[in-house]
Symmetry: C2
Subunit: 196 residues, 2 copies
DNA sequence: ACCTGAACACCGTTCAAGT
DNA sequence: ACCTGAACACCGTTCAAGT
């Protein structure tokens, strides 16, 4: 019968995995470093080696979230057809899916309470997601589906619309049975807003 | 020298006021019922008479936030000129101002961690804000500035765009010096998306 | 009705000491 | 380098008892 070794192996990763699980299942209020440590089987002080504070763990979680969101959007984009309208639909749906499946995490990603230390990294990550919208717009312009002009002039409003819609859907402000129709309306609105 | 009376008078209001102040000044993590009670000069158990739990206080704060946001949007709307474009600009600016001035509160309003008990009320409040967008669209249709169609088909995307832009600006995802230009671009985008 | 006082079961964080 | 054990100064919440 193997007894737990003194060194966990990869406590950092274990903390992040477990933290995200309870974040999704029981909400951010139920996230306790001590309980995490208990579940993983290490002492209450062990997490402090890997995260200077609870907030540092939350920031790491948020950063991971931005990475997954960006990957999801890129994959959806690349899997869609070439036409601008198809790509907008695919990216919007991917954003929505992420928001619904990771509502608490999305909250964390765009919340205001980050450590100044991590803030810079998080803002970068947020802007990297924003730059995906810019890339989408540039393609649309090449196809003639988007009016000419500086990328940000259209990219930012598009990003805002996608994000806003996803947040409203994930926060339950939208009735669940009108999310799908709302997404179609939002995509149509974006296409009109972009059109030459 | 008057000594503090046994009954506070309006402890509930005092708690809400103080809570919102520290929420804005020191962030949601620094909000402690015990510290609030200490600052106000009541015992640690006193708040429980007015709020069943800390979450109940946060929910009340969020509800108050929705009320103030709605009022702010209506006032901005009514103070603006009659033209649809002017009204959209006024409402967008009001939403942005609220978000920047009450970033932590806005976080709270649209966060996922509410009590099921308060959720219904909060969702109603959120939808009431959404109905303001619908009213705006209806006027726009009457003026011929907005294409015909069901209110929600345009109202929801407009709401999403305003909310998304405000959140991005308030969360610092947008560089501070591009917020003003971003707002103009967002308004222009909305007007295009609405146009017949 | 509203609040106090004291208690309970937790927290996050720190720091010497162990492996 | 990584973790434990014990301690510190807090929490939120409950409940009998006071006014």
């Amino acid at each position: 019968m193997r007894t737990r070794p003194y060194h966990h192996g990869d406590l950092r990763a274990a903390l992040l995995t477990r933290a995200e699980r309870t974040l999704g299942e029981k909400g951010p209020g139920a996230l306790s470093l001590r309980e995490l440590a208990r579940e993983i089987g290490v002492s209450p002080a062990a997490p402090s080696r890997h995260f200077r504070s609870k907030q540092a763990l939350l920031d790491a979680l948020a950063l991971e979230g931005f990475g997954r969101l960006a990957t999801g959007l890129i994959e959806a984009h690349d899997a869609a057809g070439d036409a601008f309208a198809e790509r907008v639909l695919a990216v919007t749906r991917a954003y929505l899916d992420f928001a619904v499946a990771n509502a608490a995490l999305l909250d964390l990603m765009y919340s205001v309470k980050h450590d100044p230390a991590a803030s810079e990294e998080l803002i970068d990550a947020g802007q990297r997601v924003g730059s995906l919208a810019a890339a989408l717009i540039r393609e649309g312009q090449r196809q003639g589906a988007v009016r000419e002009g500086p990328l940000e002039e259209i990219g930012l409003p598009v990003m805002a619309t996608l994000h806003g819609f996803a947040v409203l859907a994930a926060s339950g402000t939208l009735p669940a049975d009108s999310v799908e129709q709302g997404m179609r309306d939002t995509v149509a609105f974006v296409l009109r807003g972009c059109a030459p």
